[in-house]
Amino acid sequence: MTAPIAAAEVVRAVLPNGLTCLVRASPGAGMVALHAYLRAGGMFDRDRPGLARFVGAALIRGTHRHRGPDLAEALDTMGASLTVSAGTETASLAAHGLAEDLPRLLGFAAEVLVEPAFPPDEVERVRGELLTAIRVNGLDTRQVAERLFRRLAYPADHPHSRSPDGDEATVAGLDRATLEAFHRTHYVPGAAILAVVGDVEPSAALDRVAEAFAGWQGHGTPPPPAARAAPPATVVRGEASVPGKSQSDLVLGVPGVDRRDPDYYALMMANLLLGQLGLMGRIGQRVRETLGMAYYAYSDLRAGLLAGPWWVRAGVSPVNVDRAVAAILAEIEQLQSSGPAPDELADARTFLTGSLAVRLESTPGLAQMLADMELYALGLDYLERYPAIISAVSREAIVHAARRFPTSAYVLAVAGPDRSAA
């Protein structure tokens, strides 16, 4: 089957200001999608947790050309959607609209990224929304367990040691000048990627991008912080009790690898077998299907620019936490000792290569994939090479990768009803 994106279909250009742009046509879609990455994630927050997210959220609230409400009105009138959000490693802009509106959509994307005004009244509104979200997440058991895990699994100066939400005290105190300074430093074309996919003619679309972003100047970004995380030496447990809850959510894991790690594909496949393939892999099979203990029990490998967590997450009745943990550890040990069965490995391979088209069904999905290919330097022929990459991962490599999730040294974080009295 042909790859959903082939190198020959992609037009890639670096504009004079350094912006890397990728365009791919999907004739007949009627729509167009943009996906941009900026080196402006929470990893650059340093001692001001929540700063990157605040800046990302404030960008669409007004530019030097349009007030926030006017921007919203214009986008809604096009039936378009444009959002900016900052995660741990990057900030991203995602937009889609009718194909005929591409020039205007690009114009608004450029305004938002290049000329945000941070109007004082809008900044206060955003602050209120962020503070409410921080408080809501502070009582959301999944979020509480995740934050606790991050704090226990990563050293305090590691970007993955905290959530990009930030904390109440910092977000309450950030002033407009700080937001503007962060924007000036991190929203620069030389460190930005823009992918365009849709019902467009690539060279014309590239011209539109060049016009829209011509005024964007600035180069370089500060180097990312040192991000070394030693694996835990022993089992580290933490527990948070949250009032008024029925279920406990748990996160069990270790620091993983980054996307350029030579073992990435082996870990990705070990993770697929462990907690994703079919109904949440081997862990889902045991914890949900055999033991009936959880609605969700899966694993996830967050490999990006940095080594994010490799974790197992499950929601279980408070009385079943210990049994669920034992079952999860048993499945990890099983994969480490016996490795994947031949048919299981064959299934995993055909799933990964065969499902590319299905996983990239939508135009916004393709735009994000194209931007990812640039962000992680995968090459424009990545999806064409993908089947060969996957078939080259050996059974032994997967077993070796699984052993990077030691069952005698991991972090376990649990949040839910108070279990201390149980």
Binding site: E73, S241, V358
Partner: protein, 434 residues
């Protein structure tokens, strides 16, 4: 764009097929007209539980191998249960779609209801329910639905009441399956890169021999007209901020007021996609966003109407901004609703919402799944043609229509107002070393 080929097999299976070669994919959906609407008190949640059991295997596709088969072929699959329907779907490279059609035909008839599997799934579903209970906004919705409907089963949560989940037996589940899972109560929808004639023949081959089954018992309950406003205040710990949830009684999908109500929803919070459970568009310029979020009262505000088989509710929900009184948010909602009743929506604003609707119908064409979801959902609650008819009718909605439906439906005597107010318990999680 919304054209499709429709046929009905002699055994009653409704077949809807749309050929589309934009991507090399195909999707197959099987919809059953059964959901919490068809459940009796004491056995709520039985439809959703049956959905889970349909993944537990048949003789031909034993437990654990069924969905692995779809994975191996590079597919995506899932299922969901709603008040009016239960739907199963697969998305596959087009040349492999036959496997999905055969699998769905097989599990329509031959799902094994093993007592041990039923027992183990009981705790999975209770876990699913308890996970939802962790969110106060979920519990508030349950309270509002139970109060808004006093006779109609739309009052029941799709997942079921917890005591019912503890009591339902294997035989209850099997009886429910036998009653509702047959061709006469189902709709097959296929969208994708195939030849229509070949696809129809494939569906005929897979489903044609299945006996028609008895027509399921009709849902007789009719919700009596509401006589006055209903209110519920849910107070419990576990939430960091207050939530507002208002539900107004509105007609079923078959009613001609569906189109103006969908446009009204667009004026309030942006026009949403029409596929089942599709997300919204932008909506930051909408009236609720302006009044509540820009107004500093709420951090999120939205409205919504899911086209339904029976008269249902139009919802307005808001997450109250920390430190704001929920009463102030409610008052602002009432002001916005009153404005819709008293002042005609300006032409530019109406055009904006129609343009959003037009764009959503274009986005519906992206890929194959969303089209199948939209077509199937309308077929399940009314007729498949309603999807295209609603798209047309939206273009004809006038400002007078909006004022009329706002005045007819979004009124005090048709509304149930729910507040969630965090209890005075600690606002933070307490950590301890374990």
């Amino acid at each position: 764009m919304l054209d499709h080929h429709a046929t009905t097999l002699p055994n009653g299976l409704q077949v809807l097929v749309q050929e589309s070669h934009a991507t090399p994919l195909a999707t197959f959906w099987l919809w059953y007209r059964v959901g919490s609407r068809n459940e009796m008190p004491g056995a709520t949640g039985v439809s959703h539980w049956v959905e889970h059991l349909l993944f537990k295997g048949t003789q031909r596709y034993p437990a654990g191998t069924m969905m692995r088969l779809i994975d191996r072929l590079g597919g995506r699959w899932n299922a969901f249960t709603w008040k009016d329907y239960t739907a199963y779907f697969e998305v596959l490279p087009a040349e492999r779609i036959e496997t999905a059609v055969r699998l769905e035909a097989d599990r329509m008839q031959h799902t094994i209801f093993d007592p041990d599997v039923v027992a183990s799934e009981r705790t999975v579903i209770i876990s699913e329910r308890e996970g939802a209970e962790n969110f106060p906004s979920y519990s508030l919705r349950e309270e509002v639905d139970a109060l808004a409907f006093k006779a109609h089963p739309y009052r029941q949560p799709v997942i079921g009441w917890k005591e019912d989940l503890r009591a339902i037996t294997r035989d209850d589940l099997y009886r429910h399956y036998r009653t509702y899972y047959h061709p006469g109560n189902a709709i097959a929808v296929a969208v994708g890169a195939f030849d229509t004639t070949t696809m129809v023949a494939l569906i005929e081959t897979a489903f044609g021999e299945i006996p028609p089954g008895e027509p399921p018992p009709p849902v007789r309950a009719v919700e009596p007209e509401q006589a006055g406003e209903r209110r519920v205040v849910l107070r419990r710990p576990g939430g960091a901020t207050a939530y507002l949830h208002i539900a107004y009684h509105v007609p079923a999908a078959s009613h001609p007021d569906l189109a103006p109500l969908l446009v009204l929803d667009g004026v309030l919070s942006g026009f949403k996609g029409v596929a089942a459970f599709d997300g919204g568009g932008g909506g930051r310029s909408s009236r609720l966003h302006r009044a509540l979020v820009d107004g500093g009262l709420a951090t999120e505000a939205s409205s919504g109407l899911i086209p339904s088989a029976d008269p249902t509710v139009f919802r307005i929900v808001a997450t109250v901004r920390s430190g704001v009184e929920v009463a102030a948010v409610e008052a602002a909602v009432h002001r916005e609703v009153a404005r819709l009743q008293q002042e005609p929506v300006p032409a530019a604003e109406l055009d904006k919402v129609k343009r959003q609707a037009l764009a959503q119908f274009v986005y519906l064409r992206d890929g194959v799944s969303r089209r199948a979801a939209a077509l199937g959902a309308f077929a399940a609650v009314d007729r498949p043609q309603t999807l295209a008819a609603v798209a047309d009718a939206i273009g004809r909605v006038t400002a007078d229509d909006l004022a009329r439906v706002a005045g007819a439906y979004l009124v005090e005597t048709r509304r149930t107002v729910g507040w969630y107010v965090p209890d005075g318990a600690p606002r933070e999680a307490t950590e301890r070393a374990a």
